[in-house]
């Protein structure tokens, strides 16, 4: 299972990162002409709702995904909230993947609306990765009525950043020759894994751009950022040898829920947890996942978040067992120290489909 680094002297890879433009919102505008040209947010409009996706019209007001709906409405009073229709998004996603498959077998979906493609081997005979990206985007527009943007480069890291460069409905090529300069000019927050907290730390350490990162030694980065420092060291030089993994496997199945009002009592917490089991278990069954670890996530009203997990010797085999495990984890935290704003329940340590199937059968008791 080790990833072979590319052999020295191997030809540069050609990687495309395809990213649908404002995916959920665009699907909604496509299907409801009344929404076209208007600021649309997909997500719950209720007090505790969060924007899952915002149309470009909404983005001009500063509305962003993952923003609390309340904030979004304040920024854009005319914002139209639409309930998400995941079934439809999933169907469109399948359509898009079918299009990718015409050009390469090496497809690594990251979510419903983005994927990495390795088109080094030009099986469709397009001549170049740029032409392939153009063809894919044209096919997506033709067959789904939606637009996509693409980043084309020699590794995943740069391809992903490049796809953002000419959004929406555009694409951007970063050749190996331009790669290092392109990365040097990037603000650190564009690097994978750099969130607000890390960005703050980097600012404190005098690192603002890719060039600043490149000026630091691997040891220095390791000392300041742990094992992740090694990734930063390479990324700052435009290096990233992660392969496109078509067989990317699911690691966990779960769901979470932010409550309308904070919960405190064990009874209401357990009821809420039941609701989440209700959502998660069908997903577990649908994905035929067999997992051994159940993780409970709790976010308190002060936004502090904790997780508690429990692993079992055998995969969780029934909804009742899954619910019971969640209940045990929940009760262990009761009485809760603060009101609870969000609960989540996840099944992980999934059996891999490739694992030898020496499975112990049950008596059915």
């Amino acid at each position: 299972m080790t990833d072979q680094p590319p052999a020295p002297g191997a030809p540069a890879r050609r990687i495309i990162h395809v990213d649908m433009d404002a995916f959920y919102a665009s699907v909604e505008q496509r299907d409801d002409p009344a929404l076209r040209g208007r600021p649309v947010a997909v997500g719950g409009s209720r007090e505790r709702g969060v924007v899952a996706a915002a149309s470009y019209e909404a983005r001009t007001f500063g509305v962003r995904s993952a923003m609390p709906s309340v904030t979004a409405r304040r920024l854009c009073p005319d914002l139209v909230f639409v309930r998400p229709r995941f079934e439809v998004y999933r169907d469109v996603s399948r359509q898009i993947r079918a299009i990718f498959a015409r050009y390469t077998a090496l497809i690594e979906p990251l979510s419903l609306d983005e994927a990495y493609l390795d088109v080094t081997e030009d099986i469709a005979g397009m001549g170049s990765a740029t032409a392939t990206a153009l063809a894919i985007r044209a096919a997506i527009k033709e067959e789904t009525g939606l637009t996509a943007s693409a980043g084309i480069s020699y590794n995943k890291f740069i391809a992903k950043i490049a796809s953002d460069q000419n959004k929406p409905d555009g694409q951007c090529v970063i050749t190996p020759a331009r790669g290092p300069d392109f990365v040097a000019a990037l603000p650190v927050k564009r690097f994978h894994g750099v969130g607000p907290k890390t960005a703050e730390k980097m600012t404190r350490l005098g690192i603002a751009s890719g060039a600043d990162l490149r000026a630091r030694s691997r040891d220095w980065l390791l000392a300041n950022f742990g094992s992740w420092g090694s990734y930063l060291h390479d990324a700052a030089r435009g290096l990233d040898d992660r392969p496109v993994r078509p067989d990317r496997i699911r690691k966990s199945v779960g769901a979470e829920n932010t409550f309308f009002t904070d919960l405190r009592g064990p009874t209401e917490l357990l009821e809420a947890l039941d609701g989440i089991v209700e959502t998660v278990w069908p997903r577990i069954e649908a994905s035929r996942s067999r997992g051994r670890t159940v993780t409970l996530k709790v976010k308190y009203d002060d936004f502090r978040q904790i997780t508690r997990a429990r692993s079992f010797a055998e995969p969780i085999a029934s909804r009742a067992q899954f619910a019971e495990a969640g209940k045990m984890l929940m009760l262990a935290l009761c009485p809760v120290e603060r009101p609870v704003r969000l609960l989540g329940l996840t099944l992980s340590a999934l059996d891999q489909p490739g694992d030898p199937v020496a499975a112990q059968l049950g008596l059915g008791l």
Partner: protein, 372 residues
């Protein structure tokens, strides 16, 4: 309180008592043993984890009756290290207990005896006696199958129930299962057990009971209600809460129509399984059994380690086929077979397999295969 007691006597009593005490306790007094010196002589040692309680009476010369509680593990360790043959003197006064033996003196902190929790037994309407040897067998032949999965708490013990339907009259049945295998022991119903509620005896109680049974001859007094059970074992009384749950109707998973019979020597079978399982993956412990006319081949194929095979002699005349088992499960069962022949009743590679010494054998085992 002041009492004098022989080191060996105290050590034995404490060894029983201290194993009931959990190593880690959030309630301090649960780490302690209650020592009560009776006016007429004798010490009562008592420990509890709130679900299980043991009271042991030991001989001692009592000067001043009284009671106190001290850390059970500490006292046990002290007494263990005192010189052999020493007379141990326990003197409790003003929040301390003085322990002297040989030339050593320990002054231990105590907690008030009135704070010591006692399990209220309530009414225990069912009462019967079982020979210690019978009870030992019941435990030995079933306990290995007890589930450790806490989410299925109702399987975390031995299910004891009476049945009037035995072919030779009423019986008492004990069953344990973890959902993969089932062990059941059947004994003649003792006087007084008729009409008893089916009860699930928790794993920890079973473990403590088994230790105490080693030191008892004669019979054990069993008293129970639907929520508590008490075992009178000579000088020790073990009282436990029962698992509050419903044991599944296990009789429906005992196969009755398995038509392929293998008769085999349990010892060589077990040794063969043990040998080939050496290279089985730690996670699955899967062993494949290839049955052919009077020829049984045990084999293991491990992607990491390689392969292993061993032929074991056995009587088998039905259609040949392959079936997989968890080696550990198989060995747990075979380890309980005392005779020199065991019957393995098979149906197919995905159906429950019945293992027993013979039709009249008191113990019966059901094992689900593994897909290999």
């Amino acid at each position: 309180m002041k009492a004098t007691i022989e080191r060996a006597t105290l050590l034995k009593g404490l060894s029983h008592v201290q194993s009931v005490v959990e190593r880690r306790n959030t309630i301090p007094i649960l780490s302690n043993v209650l020592i009560e010196a009776a006016a007429g002589g004798g010490l009562k040692l008592m420990a509890t984890d709130l679900d299980l309680q043991i009271v042991e009476t030991v001989d001692a010369a009592v000067d001043t009756p009284g009671a106190t509680t001290v850390s059970a593990h500490t006292l046990f360790d002290i007494v263990r290290k005192l010189p052999e043959g020493a007379q141990v003197q326990l003197t409790a006064a003003e929040g301390k207990m003085l322990v002297t033996g040989g030339r050593a003196r320990f002054n231990l902190s105590t907690l008030p005896r009135d704070d010591f929790p006692v399990i209220a037994e309530g009414d225990l309407p069912t009462k019967f006696d079982l020979p210690a040897a019978t009870l030992r067998q019941i435990v030995d032949k079933t306990r290995f199958a007890i589930s450790t999965e806490e989410t299925r708490y109702y399987l975390n013990g031995i299910y004891l129930h009476a049945s009037e339907e035995g072919s030779d009259g009423p019986v008492l049945k004990a069953a344990a299962t973890d959902g993969h295998r089932l062990a059941r022991m059947t004994v003649a119903q003792p006087q007084g057990a008729a009409g008893m509620p089916g009860v699930i005896i928790p794993r920890k109680c079973v473990a403590e009971l088994r230790k105490l049974l080693d030191e008892v001859d004669g019979s054990v007094e069993v008293s129970l209600s639907s929520t508590k059970i008490r075992f009178g074992l000579g000088q020790a009384i073990l009282t436990s809460k029962l698992i509050d749950g419903t044991f599944p109707d296990y009789s429906r998973v005992i196969p009755t129509g398995n038509d392929k019979l293998l008769k085999i020597d349990p010892k060589s079978f077990m040794e063969g399984v043990d040998r080939v399982a050496t290279i089985a993956s730690e996670k699955t412990r899967a062993v494949k059994m290839t049955l052919d006319r009077d020829k049984i081949i045990l084999s293991v194929t491990s992607p990491e380690n390689g392969t292993a095979a061993e032929e074991v002699p056995g009587d088998y005349t039905s259609l040949g086929f392959d079936i997989g088992f968890n080696a550990r499960y198989l060995m747990d069962i075979l380890g309980q077979i005392e005779g020199d022949s065991v019957e393995v009743h098979l149906a197919d590679a995905a159906a429950p397999t019945l293992i027993r010494e013979g039709e009249k054998a008191p113990a019966l085992y059901v094992l689900m295969p593994m897909r290999v």
